[in-house]
């Protein structure tokens, strides 16, 4: 029996790391994917960098907590949160109704707007239904951008493409008058040699939540009060300029979207 006890004890020590850290020095374990540049990715020297990571650190500082990052595969990230591998997911996770059944979300910490790009020599000067009337607009199908364009630019021809790559090519070789996509995807492409043909025209306004969704939030376990704390911390760093500082490090535009 004694030997059995020893084995059981040894196994318990090997398997478990029992921590009863609470209250004073709060440690929050944050799960992220580590393969989604420029938001969160591991660099070739093994560091975690990106917008999500900087925001997470700023939020933890605001909440007076210590943050530890854990990388997890995207497919297993919600199960890992539920199993307690970490306490929050900060990994550019879009707030959706389907996910809300499994986890709680903080308020959004960013919501990249949809934008319209046109060839550099285009005569279109503003984003509106009238200015784009009669033009052909390329959008990737089954995206929020497509749903929006179909509803909004009713006087234009909306041409659906399977993915962004295809309409980018058609915009570059002149088959399209304009294209609509997420600002991060669009501006990344505009910065490449292929995207040199074209320029950002602007954001269509307003961008309704019913179509575009609320944006990316921080996921926590159901009923965890951390969600509210994160929401408050996001508001605080928006107010004290910390958010803008991080935003400007990565993007030329405000990724927070509408207030």
């Amino acid at each position: 029996m004694r030997i059995l006890n020893k084995i059981a004890l040894g196994a318990a020590v090997a398997v478990l790391a029992i921590g009863a850290a609470q209250a004073q020095d709060k440690t929050i374990k944050i799960g992220t994917e580590g393969a989604y540049p420029p938001f969160n990715n591991l660099t070739s020297d093994g560091k975690l960098v990106g917008f999500d990571i900087d925001i997470a650190n700023a939020l933890c500082e605001e909440m007076k907590a210590k943050c530890e990052f854990v990388t997890s595969d995207w497919d297993g990230i919600i199960p890992a949160l539920q199993a307690g591998k970490f306490d929050a997911i900060i990994a550019s996770m879009s707030i959706t109704d389907e996910r809300k059944e499994k986890v709680d979300f903080s308020g959004k910490y960013y919501n990249t707007p949809s934008v319209i790009a046109v060839p550099k020599d285009s005569t279109v000067t503003e984003v509106s239904k009238e200015a784009l009337a009669g033009k052909t607009i390329g959008v990737a199908t089954s995206t929020t951008h497509y749903n929006y364009a179909e509803k909004t630019f009713t006087d234009s021809t909306i041409k659906g493409y399977p993915s962004s790559q295809e309409f980018q090519l058609d915009l570059a070789n002149g088959r399209l008058d304009a294209a609509e996509d997420d600002i991060v995807v669009m501006s990344t492409w505009l910065d490449t040699a292929d995207g040199a043909c074209c320029k950002l025209l602007g954001q269509p306004e307003p961008q309704p939540v019913e179509i575009f969704g609320p944006g990316a939030g921080i996921a926590v376990r159901k009923g965890d009060p951390l969600a509210g704390e994160f929401t408050a911390a996001i508001k605080a760093i928006r107010a004290n300029g910390k958010y803008k500082e991080i935003n400007d490090k990565y993007f030329k535009f405000d990724v927070y979207g509408a207030e």
């Binding site: 090997a14 478990l16 029992i18 070739s44 093994g46 297993g76």
Partner: protein, 237 residues
């Protein structure tokens, strides 16, 4: 755009050191699982051919479960399910405590369970290939059961089971790729991260392919050596 050689260099600029670390994880996981899985598989084979019907049934249920379930599901059950179970148990005694099942250990246990259920069948068929006369010969010269097993049966058993076991080893080596799903940075996950960050999917998945191939070639060479070794023993006797 960085050149391929920079991307594949060793050091802070390139990804080779990260992928090498992935190779280390993959190989060490497979090597740690092997003895555990083999020993467990052997014991289950013994149980399945024992006189005790209860043991036989238990052995058969075990193989049915772990051969029947997808490996990924086994892995998730152990990594997430066991964690949830332990958490509930520990929090019953110490409220607020957190439990963490180590992902390497979870991978090892899950792959070991799967490996052992297949290995038990290999051992079982090897046992059946050894004629009863071999046991009787051992007993007739006064060897007890344990010694008969170790000196007479095992050497023959290994020789017969080796081709089947080497198959299982190669399967195990590739199955380790599943642990990338529970956050272990094995070859596949490192290649995936590198490809997402650098947008060079073909390059990095190609490299991962090559590494698995090289590992398989090294394994076949090693297995060939072991086969020769076992064969020699036979000849010398």
């Amino acid at each position: 755009m960085q050149s391929y050689w920079t991307l594949l260099s060793w050091g802070p600029e390139g990804w080779l050191d990260d992928i090498a670390h992935g190779v280390f994880i993959t190989v060490s996981l497979a090597l740690c699982t092997l003895p555990f899985g083999m020993a467990l598989g052997f014991l289950i084979a013994l149980a399945k051919q024992s006189q005790e019907p209860l043991l036989r049934t238990a052995g058969n249920i075990y193989t049915t479960i772990f051969r029947g379930m997808p490996e990924l599901l086994t892995l998730f059950l152990i990594f997430f399910g066991v964690q949830l179970g332990l958490q509930a148990l520990v929090q019953y005694f110490i409220p607020g405590a957190t439990v963490n099942v180590n992902s390497f250990l979870a991978g090892m246990v899950a792959l070991g369970f799967v490996f052992s259920s297949y290995a038990s069948e290999v051992f079982l068929s090897a046992f059946r290939a050894i004629p009863r006369g071999q046991y009787e010969g051992g007993y007739s010269i006064g060897l007890p059961y344990g010694k008969t097993m170790r000196l007479v049966i095992l050497p023959q058993l290994i020789r017969i089971a080796l081709p089947g076991l080497s198959n299982l080893w190669l399967i195990l080596l590739k199955d380790t790729a599943l642990v990338s799903a529970i956050g272990l940075n094995d070859i596949l996950r490192q290649a995936y991260t590198a490809s997402r960050v650098t947008k060079q999917s073909f390059l990095f998945f190609g490299v991962a392919c090559l590494i698995y191939l090289i590992l398989a070639i090294i394994s076949s060479y090693g297995i060939g050596r072991i086969e020769k070794l076992v064969g020699k023993q036979e000849g010398a006797r």
